[in-house]
């Protein structure tokens, strides 16, 4: 479906899930194949590291790795973890207002999944020698970022649908290749995350499909949400390749497998048909099939806006950070109480043993 890296899969119903399974199979196959063996295990660590990467094997936490590789991964995984946690907010806003008990239960489960994804990723980052507390502190003090998409507001129930369809959809397109990332703990966490994200994308699509086939007012609400989220979703893939600062090195290290523009194109090509089935319009007059490229031509998102939102000036940056800080501070007593209880029990057990 998306080029030769994913040759085995284009099942009509589970393209993305199929890709995740293919990545998982590739991981096992590479492990069974072993390194080429061109470089002896006892060789200098740099050649050994390069050999492992070349053989599509995984680097594991206690392997030697270049400092810059470690730093790049910490930055990327932490930012990813923060995004999952902050990403709970725009949807969490709608839990109490979901239109039915069923939709409320589903949304609750989805937001709980996001928390779980954050925790898988924090655990993966910790294998690189950084502590959870440090990472939380870097987020709360604004020194590490989260995905700029979560600085946009969810104004209506249809936004919850669009967040699932477009935002989670874009996230999956970004993340499926990360299932093949060269760092083992990150790749394994991403396989788990992607399998669960696929439920998120479908539940969003279903919300929109219901609205788009409802009353004219419901359909208009769905269209309005698509109109507002389309370009910010395209911007989720980051700046165009020419301006992307981290790309080349990350590609060489096989942390990243495809460029920002390649993934953005993949996403657009995927969405066009899905929008048609919804009966909704993607708000881009320049969108048209280009038979020469075998892909859709489309209007690029406003990258100046992306840079403004990243640097803190989006519609909800302050609100999101204030909420996260407040939630962290208000949860302090729970963490303290749990620690005090654990300490008390440990003392009690010592006394019993003595």
């Amino acid at each position: 479906m998306y080029g030769n890296d994913f040759a085995a899969v284009d099942a009509p119903d589970g393209g993305l899930l199929g890709q995740v399974e293919a990545a998982e199979a590739a991981l096992r196959a590479a492990a069974a194949r072993g390194r080429g063996g061109a470089v002896a295990a006892g060789a200098d660590p740099e050649s050994y590291f390069a050999d492992v990467i070349n053989a599509d094997q995984k680097i594991e936490p206690r392997d030697w790795m270049p400092e810059a590789y470690r730093r790049t991964l910490i930055r990327q995984i932490a930012q990813h973890a923060h995004s999952e946690i902050v990403g709970m907010q725009p949807e969490g806003n709608w839990i109490s207002r979901a239109p039915s008990l069923k939709r409320k239960a589903i949304l609750l489960a989805k937001v709980q999944d996001e928390a779980g994804h954050g925790l898988y990723l924090y655990a993966a980052a910790e294998t690189l020698g950084v502590s959870r507390d440090e990472l939380v502190d870097l987020l709360l003090s604004g020194r590490q970022k989260y995905s700029s998409i979560f600085n946009y507001p969810t104004l209506t129930w249809a936004d919850v649908g669009v967040v699932g369809w477009l935002v989670d959809g874009a996230a999956i397109v970004n993340q499926v290749p990360l299932c093949r990332c060269s760092y083992g703990p990150y790749a394994r966490a991403m396989i788990r995350v992607c399998k669960e994200e696929s439920f998120h994308q479908r539940q969003g699509y279903e919300i929109l499909h219901t609205l788009a086939h409802g009353t004219p007012a419901q359909k208009a609400m769905a269209q309005d949400a698509v109109d507002r989220w389309w370009y910010p979703s395209l911007a989720m893939f980051g700046p165009p390749d020419g301006d992307s600062t981290h790309s080349a090195q990350s590609m060489a290290w096989k942390i990243k497998r495809f460029s920002n523009d390649e993934l953005r194109q993949r996403f657009v090509d995927m969405c066009v048909q899905q929008a048609e089935t919804l009966g909704l319009t993607l708000p881009d007059p320049g969108l048209r099939w280009n038979p020469e490229r075998q892909a859709y031509d489309f209007t690029q998102p406003d990258y100046d806006e992306l840079m403004r939102v990243i640097s803190g000036d989006g519609p909800c940056n302050r609100q999101r950070m204030a909420h996260r800080r407040r939630a962290h501070a208000e949860g302090a007593w729970v963490r303290e109480a749990a620690a005090a209880y654990a300490a008390k029990r440990a003392r009690h057990e010592e006394r019993v043993a003595a």
Binding site: R62, A109, Y120
Partner: protein, 83 residues
């Protein structure tokens, strides 16, 4: 985590918890939201003793020259059954 009866436990991930009891509850919430397991063990990471990747060669080398441990090492004469 034991995924199903009859399978051995395999490592699924890590988490933070103040004590073992809460670690078990957090593990249930974090790693079995979709019925991934029927049994969970939690172990404090400090209690794990691991081999070091730096000593990988010396540590695992002794097994490398003992191909005769594998059944494929032996030539079976034609026509011999049940071997």
């Amino acid at each position: 985590m034991r995924a199903r009866r009859g399978l051995s436990h395999t490592h699924v991930g890590s988490l933070h918890a103040p004590d073992a009891e809460l670690a078990l509850r957090h593990a249930r919430d974090l790693y079995t939201r979709r019925q991934e397991g029927v049994s969970i063990w939690v172990v404090p990471s400090g209690a794990i003793t691991a081999s070091s990747p730096d000593e990988r060669d010396a540590f695992f080398d002794p097994a490398a020259d003992k191909v005769y441990r594998h059944p494929t090492f032996y030539e079976v004469p034609d026509g011999v059954a049940h071997l």
